[in-house]
């Protein structure tokens, strides 16, 4: 028994040594350092690979962008883009010296227009712009445009027909709160198909389209007859590629033509409005054939137009004639109404005017003592109704024979997105009242514009 105990003790004493003998030989310091070095290198490399993978992923990932031009989502290759833009016009209208105010003085949301536009498959653009202004909902723009080539674009849907110079200017860029009288004689928006493009590096622009054919100042969503209008415009900016004094000189001519035939319940004829948005001319209408003037054939519009901007000064001019065959009962005629405007602007500080508004060189920042840009503006416009209109087709006691308006304005561009506008405009009329001339319209406008 004693021998067994001795052997057991020896075995227990020897056990740790035996176990140690089966372990791998202890690593040297160099080997441990080498092992640690490899671990660090592996970690570094994994980080490197992760970064490469992230960079690779970023190439194929879309981008979300927010900035002064709005908000956008863009695919990595730029072939798919969605932009959310919009603008709001908060206006004030106050009559000056009018004993009998034609309308209540009011603040109003003149335009509330969210804009959804974008690109699919690289060359196909779309734009959807409703308007919730003045308490109504109107779809202003909804179109698709294929950009096959700078010289060849095809647009289909609802948009501005290529006729009026000031009408084609965005509402965010116009010089005054309300457009001038010639806008009465051109279409506002219509449904149609248009080809257009820029030639010679933008020196020549053209547009030619087929449209339903809306009345002057009209904004239509469907046609009321089977005939269509053709509208076209060619515009030259011969020095646009240079840096000379005439770089921002543009001039051109636009026209539209189509057959329009109305009925006593849908006359296919327009009314004309003052800058204060009051109707000052309309054709006779009582829903009977004998008492209603209707469109009776060809309508032709013609508009030479142009602008010139140099340094702080800008000038915009357009002339429009709208010629329309009309009939009332057994009497028919061809009437030609004419209108023109000349508008000048002077940016007295902080920027230069262009057809696309003023891009202020600084933004309003009291701390930095920067104020944005200030612009003075003046305009004269008039609209003359064809003499033959009276008395057969319109009543001289309710429709004016002519309107002549002059306006002055001050625009303060706080930055690219915000603008304050203050205008005063007086319009004189010939005829349009039970006795003599319609009372002059004197109106003060204010506008707070936010556009993004």
């Amino acid at each position: 028994m004693k021998n067994v105990s001795i052997w057991l003790c020896c075995a227990l004493l020897a056990l740790p040594a035996a176990v140690r003998a089966q372990d791998p030989p202890p690593a040297s310091v160099d080997e441990k350092l080498e092992e640690l070095d490899q671990k660090i290198r592996v970690l570094d490399r994994k980080i490197e690979i992760d970064k490469e993978a992230a960079a690779e992923k970023a190439k194929t990932a879309g981008q979300a962008v927010a900035g002064k031009d709005g908000f956008s989502l863009r695919s990595a290759d730029g072939n798919f883009v969605l932009k959310v833009r919009g603008y709001v016009h908060f206006d004030g209208r106050f009559w000056v010296d009018d004993e009998k105010k034609p309308q209540a003085e009011t603040f109003l949301l003149r335009r509330v227009r969210p804009i959804f536009e974008g690109t699919v498959y690289k060359i196909f653009d779309f734009r959807i712009m409703p308007d919730f202004g003045a308490g109504t909902t109107v779809l202003q723009d909804a179109y698709l445009e294929g950009r096959f080539n700078p010289a060849f674009r095809v647009r289909a849907g609802k948009f501005k027909p290529p006729v009026g110079l000031e009408r084609l200017q965005s509402a965010t860029d116009i010089l005054f709160v309300e457009r001038a009288l010639p806008t009465n004689l051109v279409p506002n928006r219509d449904l149609g198909i248009q080809v257009g493009g820029d030639l010679a590096g933008g020196a020549v622009s053209y547009a030619l389209g087929v449209f339903n054919g809306v009345v002057d100042l009209g904004n239509g969503d469907a046609d009321t007859n089977n005939d269509k209008d053709v509208a076209g415009r060619i515009f030259f900016q011969p020095f646009v590629k240079g840096a000379g004094p005439f770089k921002n000189l543009g001039f051109g001519i636009a026209a539209s033509q189509g057959d329009q035939n109305g009925t006593p319940t849908a006359s296919s004829l327009p009314s004309y409005r003052t800058p204060g948005q009051q109707t000052f001319f309309s054709y006779r209408s009582d829903a009977t054939a004998a008492g209603t003037t209707v469109a009776n054939g060809t309508r032709t519009r013609l508009s030479p137009q142009g602008y010139f901007y140099r340094g702080p000064f800008g000038l915009l001019a357009e002339y429009v004639t709208s010629r329309q065959d009309v009939r009332r009962d057994l009497v028919s005629d061809t009437l030609e109404h004419k209108s023109w405007q000349l508008a000048g602007s002077w940016v007295i500080a902080g920027g230069e005017p262009t057809y696309r508004s003023v891009n202020p060189k600084t933004v309003f920042d009291r701390a930095a003592h920067t104020w944005g840009a200030f612009e003075l503006a003046a305009r004269y416009s008039e609209l003359t109704v064809d003499d033959a209109t009276f008395p057969a087709f319109a009543c001289i006691t309710s429709s004016a024979r002519s309107a002549k308006a002059w306006a002055v304005g001050l625009n303060w561009y706080l930055n690219r997105n915000l603008r304050l506008m203050f205008d005063y405009e007086t319009t004189e009329f010939e005829g349009g009242a039970a006795t003599g001339d319609r009372e002059d319209e004197k109106i003060f406008f204010s506008r707070f514009q936010i556009a993004f």
Binding site: R41, F152, V195
Partner: protein
């Protein structure tokens, strides 16, 4: 409606003008390839452009895109406008063909199953072979750090994996369980998986990680002759014959109107000049005369083909599909 007729005529005329101006543009090809072929195709492209110019008078520019073979195939399927693909393995080309961009019979359109050159898989070790790597068994030893890319994204990695698997099948009389265990032990020694073969070479050669790189033969020779350090090649007793295929991406080339020049580009790879270029970049040429001329630069290795696995489709499904053997062994080992 005379206005409409006028508009239609004008639009048609302008469209023809646009199409005509596009047709006059310079010929461009895009070759979407796998990771280690950058230098090969730089030389091929220059030589082909010269030959094409001499033959037709036309200028042609071949652009290159490189990455893991599987990832490149996915990019082509997703819209990358490749006129030709020169990928690491037939399965990846089949994937593109299954998307409808390439005719199903693509492998029969050029000689040697549309593989103008071959390669194999070897080991690259550090100078002096400090871990005494001699064959596949040595990669399973504890303490041996093995660098190989991810078979999910890299064609070369799939060749590496199958080369090891094929070795074990031969050694253990086609016993898949032993093969799975053996390959699993190799991947336990892999500390990092790059997405492509060139990335794995960077890991081993430039970052100094690992004891052995399982690599394309051409990539290993390229590293040995490179500037980043002292390496040597160890040829295993058995390896796989890697056959990287090439083909025209029919629908893209048709759309680009480049079918003729794209086909000529790939045929150029079979010419003596093309084969010489491949050999100079350490790809094994198909042309016997060129192969004999460059035989000395290639180690002698006993080679088996993908047929051991029943072809690429079966190999892919069994080993590399989601939930396949690779997922089982690599997931288990992590």
């Amino acid at each position: 409606m005379s206005h409409l007729k006028f508009l239609s005529t004008a639009a048609l005329g302008l469209s023809l003008l646009v199409a005509g101006s596009a047709h006059a543009a310079e010929i461009k090809l895009l070759n979407v390839s796998y990771d280690p072929t950058r230098e090969l195709y730089q030389d091929v492209n220059t030589a082909f452009a010269k030959a094409w110019k001499a033959k037709t008078g036309q200028d042609v520019t071949v652009q290159q895109s490189h990455g893991g073979s599987g990832k490149q195939a996915r990019s082509v399927i997703d819209g990358l406008g490749a006129d030709v693909v020169t990928l690491a393995l037939a399965y990846d080309v089949d994937a593109v063909a299954n998307s409808g961009l390439i005719a199903k019979n693509w492998q029969t359109r050029l000689p040697n199953n549309s593989t103008p050159y071959t390669s194999t898989i070897v080991f690259l070790v550090r100078k002096g072979n400090p871990k005494k790597i001699r064959d596949w068994d040595d990669l399973t030893r504890p303490g041996v750090s093995v660098i190989t890319p991810n078979p999910k994204t890299s064609g070369g990695a799939r060749w590496n994996y199958l080369a090891a698997w094929g070795y074990v099948l031969r050694k253990f009389n086609n016993d898949p369980a032993k093969a799975k265990d053996f390959v699993g032990r190799i991947y336990k020694n892999v500390p990092i998986l790059d997405t492509g073969a060139r990335g794995a070479t960077v890991t081993f050669v430039e970052r100094g990680i690992g004891d052995v790189l399982i690599a394309w033969e051409n990539e290993a020779i390229f590293a040995v002759k490179g500037e980043h350090g002292d390496f040597q090649i160890v040829a295993p007793s058995i390896s796989i014959l890697a056959e990287p295929p090439v083909t025209v991406v029919d629908k893209v080339a048709a759309k680009h109107k480049t079918v003729q020049v794209a086909t000529a580009y790939l045929q150029f790879l079979y010419t003596s000049e093309g084969q010489e270029i491949a050999a100079r970049h350490y790809y094994r040429p198909r042309n016997e005369a060129v192969a004999a001329k460059y035989a000395a630069q290639f180690p002698k290795v006993q080679l088996f083909t993908i047929d051991v696995f029943g072809g690429w489709t079966k190999a892919q499904q069994a080993h590399f599909a989601d939930g396949g053997v690779f997922d089982q062994i690599y997931g288990a080992g992590r």
